[in-house]
């Protein structure tokens, strides 16, 4: 990237970050929380972009990393008094990284769809274990716990408000973005991209490709776990549903929708998909209420299954925007 492009990038980054920082002031409470959640799902999607977009591997195991991050945080928050934010982060990351290492060790021997299916099976194994081991995990009901305070022991301790939680999540996600961005531009990250472009050649010039893949999966899992911890802190519960492979599928969806290999694309994808879903779920009741204000009763309109138009719009996006929402900017964001 030329110096000028670099300057433009960082200026845009600063502007967007500043906008994101002040955005909650203009938003009602619900949307502040929703924005926080979008950032968290965006982080999950971003973590899987390391594999999909940079290494060329599609993982369906991210739900396991995400979920284990949650349960790791839950373990810390349930066992220590007072609940400690940093311990929750630590436990969650350790749990996610351990699982990621385990999954990576086996699955990276396989390629393409076989890799995807193996990671999927692994996440299902963890799902079944968590779902049925009621004594430890709460089973289907999951675990509920209280939110830790934003504290540095001996210095200060502030209970999270919606606003501070949002900023905290924004800080973590921004930090993660910067770290991941740096990783993708480090020699290591360049090797990953080289694997994506041409695995055999990468091996032939001397790189132990399998080991690189294992580390990539571990990093990806670590950040997915971080997203899990943030989700746990925001929502104060952990549930096996988050380990179910469908969550991995959603991460892939956010990636494709936003544009793979851009890191920010997946966040945009997550935002687009979640906002679209939220918007459509409100549309039909809204139409029905507008109609009834005009003296019309449209029975069934408010209950119209909004997932049908969601599905159709989604299909249309995939067909007509092959590069995803941010795909056009891929080269620019990637250099």
């Amino acid at each position: 990237m030329t110096a000028r492009r670099t300057r433009i990038f960082w200026m845009a980054f600063a502007v967007i970050l500043a906008l994101l920082i002040v955005m909650p002031f203009g938003l009602p409470e619900f949307w502040r929380r929703f924005l926080t959640e979008i950032l968290i799902w965006g982080l999950l999607a971003m973590s899987s972009d390391i594999l999909i977009g940079y290494t060329g591997m599609v993982s369906f195991g991210h739900s396991a990393f995400f979920g284990l991050g949650m349960y790791g945080a839950a373990a810390a928050l349930l066992t220590t008094r007072p609940p400690s934010l940093w311990l929750a982060l630590l436990y969650g990351l350790i749990a996610a990284a351990t699982v990621a290492a385990f999954v990576a060790y086996f699955s990276t021997r396989l390629r393409d769809i076989y890799f995807a299916i193996t990671t999927l099976i692994f996440s299902q194994i963890f799902y079944v274990i968590i779902f049925t081991w009621t004594d430890a995990t709460g089973g289907e009901n999951g675990l509920a716990f209280s939110r830790p305070a934003l504290a540095i022991p001996g210095l200060f301790s502030l209970p999270f408000t919606t606003l501070t939680l949002y900023w905290f999540v924004l800080a973590v996600v921004t930090g993660s973005y910067l770290v991941l961005r740096r990783i993708t531009r480090s020699p290591f990250g360049m090797v990953l991209q080289s694997i994506r472009e041409n695995e055999a050649r990468t091996r032939a010039i001397g790189y132990p490709v399998e080991r690189y893949k294992i580390v990539a999966v571990m990093f990806s899992g670590l950040f997915a776990g971080l997203a899990g911890v943030l989700y746990a802190i925001q929502n104060r519960f952990a549930a096996p549903d988050f380990v179910f492979f469908v969550v991995s599928g959603e991460a892939v969806i956010y990636n494709i929708m936003g544009g793979v290999g851009t890191l920010v694309g997946p966040i945009v994808g997550a935002a687009a998909f979640l906002l679209l879903r939220e918007g459509l779920s409100r549309l039909f009741p809204y139409l029905a209420s507008v109609a009834s204000q005009h003296g019309l009763a449209l029975p069934g309109l408010a209950e119209f299954p909004y997932l049908i138009p969601l599905g159709i719009i989604f299909i249309a996006i995939v067909i007509f925007m092959p590069q995803g929402l941010l795909g056009f900017a891929r080269r620019r964001l990637n250099e």
Partner: protein
């Protein structure tokens, strides 16, 4: 113990055959089109619903089976032409997403159209025989046999018919098939229709064992996917073998460990198989 073992063998084979029927449509679509069809479970479910409606109208199970297969096959063709053809030549990931969208639409449409109450398909005949301490319904064996017959029919179709030869040729080399004058776009639509029809047939056949509802496809689709990959994508025989293999593993495992652990056992076995034979268990190795 021996009794239980034999019973579980029969169970494993019966479940395996149903799974094989679901998976064979999937593997056909997968193998020839590179389409990972996430909507397969929904086509299975729609087949069952069309079966319910036809059965209510005509009273004939067999007619219901036929009508469901044809109607869903036609729907499959329509889905293919409108949503999957535009993706030809794109990354297969796109097809995963589009079929995910389709499954969202179909599932919610079924809920909207048919309502929340579980429906019933009555088996065409009742009756059972004694299997040690159990009464075993004949219908279960009939399903297994019918599944086998349908798969055999598919196999004969692939082996001998013009379209069958074309499908196999296209599976191996799509570009060359086209250069040989095989109308590949139309062929892909037909394959998707056949796969959809098979999903529907399995939905109707399986209907009498369970209730029919909008979420019934979910229980099969994940396992069917695993089976397709383990069997070697696009490999019909491999999928059948893998279906029976996974079902038997699960059945036997349930003799020794708790049911939920049995699922884990079968998953672990699957991962091991993949690690040993990375491109599927039963792939023929062309020289």
């Amino acid at each position: 113990m021996l009794e239980e073992f034999l019973i579980q063998t029969i169970n494993g084979i019966v479940v395996g055959m149903i799974l094989a029927l679901v998976a064979s449509g999937l593997t056909l679509i997968f193998g020839i089109m590179d389409v990972v069809n996430f909507a397969h479970g929904e086509l299975f479910m729609l087949g069952a619903y069309v079966g319910v409606v036809t059965l209510a109208g005509t009273g004939s199970f067999w007619l219901a089976l036929l009508v469901a297969t044809l109607v869903v096959a036609a729907l499959g063709a329509a889905i293919h032409v409108t949503t999957l053809r535009p993706l030809l030549g794109r990354d297969p990931l796109n097809t995963i997403l589009v079929t995910f969208g389709i499954s969202l639409v179909l599932q919610n449409y079924a809920l909207w159209q048919f309502g929340p109450v579980a429906r019933k398909i009555n088996e065409p005949f009742t009756g059972h025989f004694n299997l040690f301490y159990l009464e075993y319904p004949w219908y279960r064996l009939v399903i297994a046999l019918l599944s086998a017959a349908i798969i055999a029919g598919l196999w004969l179709f692939l082996k001998y018919s013009t379209y069958g030869v074309w499908i196999r040729a296209t599976t191996q080399d799509r570009l060359m098939a086209q250069a040989m004058g095989i109308p590949v776009p139309r062929l892909l639509t037909i394959v998707f229709a056949i796969g959809s029809g098979m999903a529907a047939a399995s939905g109707v056949l399986f209907g009498p064992l369970v209730g029919v509802n909008h979420a019934m496809g979910l229980d099969w689709v994940l396992k069917a996917f695993i089976v397709v990959v383990v069997g070697g994508m696009g490999n019909l025989v491999g999928s059948i073998a893998a279906s029976i293999f996974i079902s038997l593993t699960e059945s036997y495992a349930s003799l020794w460990v708790s049911p939920s652990q049995a699922i884990i056992v079968s998953f672990v076995v699957l991962i091991l198989t993949l690690l040993i034979r990375p491109t599927g268990l039963f792939v023929p190795t062309p020289k």
